[in-house]
Symmetry: C2
Subunit: 356 residues, 2 copies
């Protein structure tokens, strides 16, 4: 057999018609025991793999995706998720997919609620959700369960729901890793500051919490938890920090390292730079525009990247694999936590990766 076996070949070998083979393959329609066995016998001998693109075109199917995620600010996290989604949709261009975006204000519960309600009103073949508010997500998830619409999460899992799968990073490990890195690049006996951006709902609260747990775990293991200071700063209005943060560092002269367990590291880096505190090393999260700048000018030592674009890409791919090709994948999918420095930064486009 030079080329790949086709349904027609299998039919001939089994002494039945192509129609029957199709029925056996997909378990649809009625097939006599005898034919089924004959076909299955042949299938076991030849390694048949269907041409899935042909199959999807023959079925004349269209796929309507809804994407419910926070608003996308240029150069920030969710825009990268969105870019990954769009890339995947383009990659599956041969399949008739359309993709409707529903963005909500991640700092506004009511915005999330009404957006999710609009999503629930539509008819979708599948939904991608970027969860921020737990309760609203559960409502939407329940609705999708009722209507038997598959859905997947990006960025985080929401307990008490049953998505087809989710794409996220292990946040506790993320926090632990940040702690380890900041500890490694500072002198023995330093103090550390754990900075938290004041803005409420900046991230899915649970994610930040898990990161903090991992972060503290590292220092506790080493009996260094007393070297950790806390600082709450304003991401929305950096000018408010001048006094606040200035006071803080004056009172804590031994601080040599800082961690920001959100994507707002750039704000701190900027402050330190303006005040000539290049002795304080920072580690933060996500390759946002301002963090990239911080890496480049040395204000930030390491950035941990959760591959947002790949999360979006994978979400679409997982749904397509399931809807079109009937394939299932494991539910829990953790992205690598990329450690990005000034040196390897140029190669982490997170988008070119997906071209492969």
């Amino acid at each position: 057999m030079a080329s790949k076996p086709r349904i027609k070949d299998i039919a001939a070998l089994a002494g039945v018609s192509p129609g029957t083979v199709d029925r056996v393959l997909h378990g649809r329609g009625k097939v006599s025991e005898a034919s089924r066995i004959a076909v299955e016998k042949v299938l076991n001998e030849v390694n048949y793999t269907p041409n899935l693109y042909l199959s999807s075109i023959s079925m004349r199917k269209r796929f309507r995706l809804a994407v419910a995620i926070p608003e996308c600010v240029a150069g920030e996290y969710w825009e990268q998720v969105r870019a990954g989604i769009l890339r995947a949709v383009r990659e599956y261009d041969s399949i008739d997919i359309t993709c409707d975006f529903f963005h909500y204000n991640q700092f506004d519960l009511f915005s999330c609620r009404s957006t999710f309600e609009r999503v629930a009103e539509g008819e979708w073949d599948a939904v991608i959700i970027g969860p921020t508010f737990k309760d609203e997500t559960i409502v939407l998830a329940n609705h999708l369960n009722d209507t038997r619409t598959p859905y997947v999460y990006v960025d985080s899992m929401v307990d008490g729901t049953s998505p087809m799968c989710f794409f996220s990073a292990d946040q506790q490990v993320c926090g632990y890793l940040i702690a380890k890195l900041i500890h490694q690049i500072t002198p023995e006996g330093s103090d550390y500051v754990l900075c938290q951006a004041k803005r409420v709902g900046d991230e899915s609260a649970n994610n930040t919490l898990m990161r903090k747990i991992g972060f503290m775990e590292f220092f506790r293991e080493r009996g260094l938890e007393n070297n950790i200071r806390r600082l709450i700063f304003s991401a929305a209005r950096p000018e408010d920090n001048e006094e606040l943060v200035g006071d803080f560092f004056e009172r804590n002269p031994d601080i040599k390292g800082g961690a920001i367990l959100s994507s707002r590291g750039g704000v701190m880096a900027d402050y330190l730079k303006r005040h000539g505190r290049s002795d304080i090393r920072l580690v933060t999260l996500d390759l946002t525009r301002s963090n990239i700048e911080g890496l480049r000018d040395g204000g930030i030592g390491f950035v941990i990247c959760q591959r947002p674009a790949q999360q979006g890409f994978s979400a679409v791919k997982a749904l397509m694999m399931n809807l079109v090709f009937g394939q299932t994948m494991k539910r829990d999918n953790y992205m690598p936590l990329d450690i990005v420095t000034e040196e390897n930064l140029p190669y982490y486009n997170d988008l070119t990766e997906l071209t492969e």
Copy 2:
């Protein structure tokens, strides 16, 4: 227009037949000026994208790939490249691709030469090359140029040839990064050892050279080049190292960090572990089985990963995009240099990544 426009739709709009549209789209056959303009006008208005899988099946094309790479040892670099290639072939299962592997002994020039000759004898639609010996690669590349067979490199570029593209990591940056990491995790004023595995041809020589340049560059920038010691050890026969390496560390008591600019870090880690020298931190290359072990038990601090599986995957994808879909991509493709620690290791399967 609810659904995607088809050739038939375009034909109708332009007042010609589907056959003519196809001719215009692909510039094949003869088409009158008038029809061409009419069709192009419509094409500019509707955003036509062909269903490429359908197209490739209609053309009844088959693609035969040859893959000429070093022998694959389980758990080592080239096996991961191979896994990525196989994954991609499976992903493009709907296209009729076959893939023949030709493995050579990367330590044996004659093995490489005769293997490449066998590749040159075959008829291929495209070839993937993992170069080790420069001259033999050039011979093969020239032959492929003559027969107008597209080829791509994985692992490294070979100057003086013109592949369709290559997938590699920037080796100089890689060396620089290793230097930076080892410097960061060791106390101020340490000495460092740059270890080199004795085995000839262990890597494409040029790769190792570039890494060394990057490595030294880092220390030179900081005026620390005199803190670098050199050590040549045996990767093939670890037992030879007992005395050799033991002597070395006795004569150089201030060494606190070591770099191995090949994938053989595990051998050194093993030595240090057996001799209770957990104070010496190591950084090395590639997620081989033994390096993974070293990361896990703490003998190795960081491993830099060049994403071999993704290189293989991308190589196939690039060729398919070109052969089947007529798309071209940029020639130079640098993989990210992943910094792997004990913590993020579990998420760097490098294969699950490709599932996306």
